[in-house]
């Protein structure tokens, strides 16, 4: 397959775009592979890419029940950041940031990674103290983070009402300048193309209906397109971890599937060049390159696999947006949608060997999985190839909940709807 370049763009512009090749093949499944990855989302695709690239394991199949990009990788609000609190999370997400920064070049595919910064607004002195603590934790790890005063914020984000008469006056903020956004579909397609070019078979419309076993050991999958065998079966299905693991006989996990909604407005002239989070509620917003505002808030708050959300939450998110930007009251919403998130009991992910022999599990992304896509695949590939975790994901085990080693960034306890 040809490299993309400025030259190929120009050539195709002059010949009616007749020369473009399909971005990945559509192979039929072979009877056996070295590794099967269940789930063709961002994490499954990046896992396959890094298995092939970093570990030389190219006899790999990704089985996806729908089409690529039909799940959360195409439903998120595209923010990328690494501003956590606890060292396990900070190191992991910063590794992801390092991979993001070179991703378009590495994949020869423009993922439109835009480091436009992410500013968390503080509305009370106590909240600003808390942000200072988080900023210090980040700088301690060598991760960029900057506490901002109201006058600095007023200069950088002039659209904000910085007066004392604002509905929730802004007293400061925490900025991560290396954070930003990426085009989510391009991330899926870029990794798919990268994996395909290294020999990985991407098998779409192929639903896993059961696991093949030899005693306790998993030896492959039954799918809607027949049996496929592999010595190693890796599961990266995010919100559908519960039903898929149930097929392997694991009926209880420290995971709850809940719906997160997202919204986009009609296009507006550029007025917001950073990712903003509101401190008096759960609300975040960025303006896309097309001009639409992409935003979201909290989870709907109860178990759901519906991929659509409820109205009370829509009302709450809109009211939060208007508390921050009263001027947006007449802007029309174009679309809203929902994705099924895999909420873990401590808000942190699981990337591990097991829980059965021959099986590997990647889940628990809560609603922060998109930014993790590169590092998740990178660490999961290492875990699959070496049969042991990389130091960056060694803490993200399944048994941490039972050993008292939870990684609870928010200090919220086992309340998945509040993480």
């Amino acid at each position: 397959m040809r490299e993309y370049s400025a030259l190929s763009l120009i050539r195709n512009a002059f010949n009616g775009n007749r020369d473009w090749q399909p971005v990945w093949r559509k192979p039929d499944p072979k009877p056996a592979y070295d590794v099967i990855i269940v789930g063709g989302g961002g994490h499954g695709l990046s896992t396959a890419y890094y298995l092939a690239k970093e570990h030389g394991i190219t006899n790999v199949a990704i089985v996806e029940k729908g089409w690529l990009g039909s799940g959360n990788v195409g439903r998120n609000t595209t923010a990328v950041r690494s501003n956590y609190l606890l060292p396990e999370n900070n190191r992991f997400y910063e590794h992801s940031m390092d991979l993001w920064e070179d991703l378009s070049h590495e994949l020869n595919y423009n993922v439109m990674f835009s480091q436009r910064g992410c500013l968390n607004l503080a509305h009370t002195p106590a909240q600003l103290d808390d942000y200072a603590r988080r900023g210090n934790a980040l700088r301690h790890e060598g991760i960029d983070s900057e506490l901002m005063t109201p006058s600095e914020i007023a200069r950088e984000v002039p659209v904000l009402d910085m007066s004392r008469t604002a509905r929730f006056p802004i007293v400061g903020g925490l900025m991560q300048r290396s954070a930003g956004t990426a085009r989510h579909d391009a991330v899926a397609w870029g990794y798919a193309r990268g994996a395909d070019r290294l020999g990985v078979d991407i098998i779409e419309n192929c639903e896993v209906t059961g696991f093949l076993r030899d005693g306790d050991r998993i030896t492959g999958v039954q799918t809607s397109r027949g049996e496929i065998r592999a010595a190693k079966v890796a599961v990266a299905v995010a919100g559908h971890t519960g039903p898929v693991m149930k097929l392997a006989g694991i009926d209880r996990l420290p995971i709850e599937s809940q719906v997160l909604q997202a919204f986009v407005t009609e296009s507006l002239k550029p007025f917001l060049d950073t990712v903003l989070t509101f401190g008096m509620g759960h609300f975040y917003v960025a303006q896309s390159d097309k001009g639409g505002l992409i935003y979201g808030g909290a989870l709907d708050g109860y178990n759901s696999y519906a991929q659509r959300g409820n109205l009370p939450l829509v009302e709450e998110v809109m009211s939060e947006m208007l508390a921050l930007f009263p001027s947006l009251a007449s802007v029309r919403v174009l679309r809203s949608w929902g994705g099924v998130t895999d909420m873990s009991m401590d808000g942190s992910p699981i990337i591990t060997t097991g829980p059965l022999p021959g099986m590997y599990l990647n889940c628990g992304w809560c609603y922060g999985g998109f930014k993790a896509t590169p590092a998740s695949g990178w660490c999961f590939a290492h875990t699959i190839a070496r049969d042991e975790p990389h130091p960056l994901n060694a803490a993200f085990t399944l048994d941490r909940f039972y050993r008292g080693a939870v990684i609870d960034d928010k200090g919220q306890g086992a309340t998945p709807n509040l993480h």
Partner: protein, 100 residues
Amino acid sequence: MIITCPYCGPRDLSEFAYQGDGNRKRPDQASTNQKAWNAYVYDRLNPAGEHNEIWQHAGGCRRHLAVTRNTLTHAISKVAFAAAAGPKRSAARRKQGKAG
């Protein structure tokens, strides 16, 4: 989504607070079985389909409700007072002559 509270009648979702998976069994208070406590605190059934769960009618009668709801369609097939389904600890304690 509308939940029909056995006490107040059909009410909007916004009046209710979600209390999570109703399939979990709290071990006896005196139990020192760590596995059972771990399972109670962390493990979830998380089905795609019928789910037994606890809701509180926080904006109404404040009773806790045992609700059976389909997590794919949000169709609610059963609502009852949660207290009737679980152990009546307070009644047992009253019989022993203790408060609460």
